[in-house]
Amino acid sequence: MVQYVLRRVLIAVPMLLGAMSIVFFAMRVLPGNPCLAMMGDQATTEALADCTKNLGLSRPLAVQYADYIWRSVRFDFGNSFRQGYPVSEYIARMFPHTLVLVGASAIVAALIGIPIGIVSALKRRNPLIDYPLRIFALLGLSMPVFWFGILLLIVFSLRLDLFPLIGGGDLDGVLAMIRSGEAFTQPADFLAAVGDVLHHLALPALALGFTLAATVSRLSRSAMLEVISQDYIRTARAKGQGERAVVYKHALRNMMVPLLTIIGIFVAIALTGTVLTETVFTRPGLGKMLVDAIGARDYPLAQGAITVFTMIIIVVNLVVDMLYAVVDPRVTYR
């Protein structure tokens, strides 16, 4: 087991390095000087020289690269051009917002997607049930999350005025109250703050969750189909167990194993989704931060955000690989 974990970690390290190198070199092939791009044509020669020196762009590329890798490992991404303060601080502030959005939409996606996938697999011979479900999955898969988000905004925020149009609520305040213990001394204030955050979260989570539900329902459909054709299901039926027991006791549990492996894919899709979702709902978060940084040509911030995104995806995949081995005893720890 220890050997297996070590092996997986050793595979993940060069992947992470490679991905970070891609980010680094992509940011360096930029046509022209990044300082010029940021400051515009009006910049004076002195200002440009100053900026180039500050960014360390005059150093040899190899030195810059080594410096970037070494700093990234310590989560030091330099200072934001626009705001001035450290990128890592910025990321740490935005991270909870994105985490909450991914978590909430994962719940929405699981609640809608898994039951639909299972029913659609079990009732695949009944076109009256299978067809609407498959059409739903196709629609969800084809509906761009930013468009669905705008439709939700038009209907629920603008027409019905039920939800806020922009923002993410005072999540920082909620976290501060938890840290300071105020959450327990003043529960009424705390609950009000949490309620406000949830109020802001509802539409974005629904938008992202719905588009993710399509993916989840397809994956759970094929996971269920995979399981239902196994010999032990036939055995269970042969010994006379009812359909309900077969599905709940035998199929469902075994279905969770292949479903677990898709969490990695899921996180990747969800993170990409946050970039679009946060932009549509003007919510603070890593995704919106990345888009804003690119728009403002704030390279350290953009580079930091992309590096963090990549790290999360690779680490999640690593963890899932290990969980897979823990959950399914048939996976050998090679």
């Binding site: 299978d130 930013f146 468009w147 705008i150 549509v280």
Partner: protein
């Protein structure tokens, strides 16, 4: 392998031939209807894009100062309304199909042309070459498609060619992986052994035997990636990283219309609908073709 539960032999004998014919027709319909609808929709999109100058009622860049932000049908010549410059939404959506479909089709072609030979090479040759190619693909796969395309477009700047390049590169590792896994199975077949015995060289085996046998599966998956490419292009344009205005693309029409959702939701609604229908068309075709390819997942 179907397990008939509670089957009574009597059921089978009572079944009339008329029922059998009907169920056969139902099965036939169920298999071909989605492909038909998808193909029809996809063909309609392609025709719309190709014939945009002929179909579009007005010029996509003509500004009508007497009809700024007018709703669908309010001014008779603007069937789907106008935007903040008084440009005709219907004409812009029709012209926008050009950008979306060009990028969708060309970028998938690009990743096919680069990815498939690499994947087949990796699968057939094995060894160091395989390790090198696959590690490279894994590294690119660490990025979600949109994120990788976003990085490349940020570096190169938004234009038709750069978007094709960005989405093409982002999709390439998928084709490398698929082509390799197909090649791994195909190279063990007897006909490959026969071809080798007849003196075919490595290159000939790959080009004349492995590639044609992998082609069908690759095309099926390619169709699904056209949908992904169209959606990615729309997302990039929506984020302001696609084709710069005033060239209309579905993503940038939608993005520009975002400021006006309060008064004029038709701008975002129709451009988004176009994106969804295009993605849906290619998903339908790809999906149905994949079901045909993999009978295990067929819902019958």
């Amino acid at each position: 392998m179907a397990i008939v539960r509670g089957a009574d032999p009597a059921d089978l004998t009572v079944r009339e031939s008329r029922d059998l014919a009907r169920s056969a027709r139902g099965r036939y319909l169920r298999r071909w209807l989605p492909i038909g609808i998808g193909l029809l929709m996809a063909a309609a999109m392609v025709v719309m894009a190709a014939a945009a100058p002929l179909i579009a009622p007005l010029s996509p860049s003509a500004q009508f100062s007497d009809a700024v932000l007018k709703g669908p049908g309010v001014v008779e010549r603007h069937l789907l309304g106008t935007d903040e410059f008084g440009r005709d939404i219907l004409s812009r959506v029709i012209w926008g199909a050009r950008v979306s479909l060009q990028i969708g089709l060309v970028s998938v072609l690009w990743s096919f042309v680069f990815g498939v030979p690499l994947g087949i090479l990796a699968g057939v040759r094995g060894g160091t070459i395989e390790t090198l190619i696959m590690r490279g693909a894994d590294m690119l796969m660490a990025f979600p498609t949109l994120l990788l395309a976003l990085i490349i477009v940020t570096a190169l700047g938004g234009s038709l060619v750069n978007e094709v390049l960005a989405i093409g590169v982002a999709l390439t590792p998928n084709f490398v992986r698929l082509a390799r896994s197909l090649a791994l199975t195909i190279r063990e077949q007897d006909y490959i052994l026969a071809a080798r015995a007849l003196g075919s060289g490595q290159l000939r085996v790959m080009a004349r035997h492995v590639f044609p046998n992998a082609l069908y599966a690759l095309v099926v998956v390619g169709t699904l990636y056209i949908a992904t490419a169209i959606r990615t292009e729309a997302s990039l344009s929506f984020l302001g990283l696609g084709i710069p205005p005033p060239t209309p693309s579905w993503g940038n029409i939608l993005s520009e219309g975002r400021q006006y959702i309060k008064c004029c939701p038709w701008i975002t609604t129709f451009s988004g609908l176009a994106i969804m229908l295009a993605v849906l068309a290619f998903n339908l075709v790809g999906d149905a073709l994949r079901d045909l390819l993999d009978p295990r997942l067929r819902g019958e």
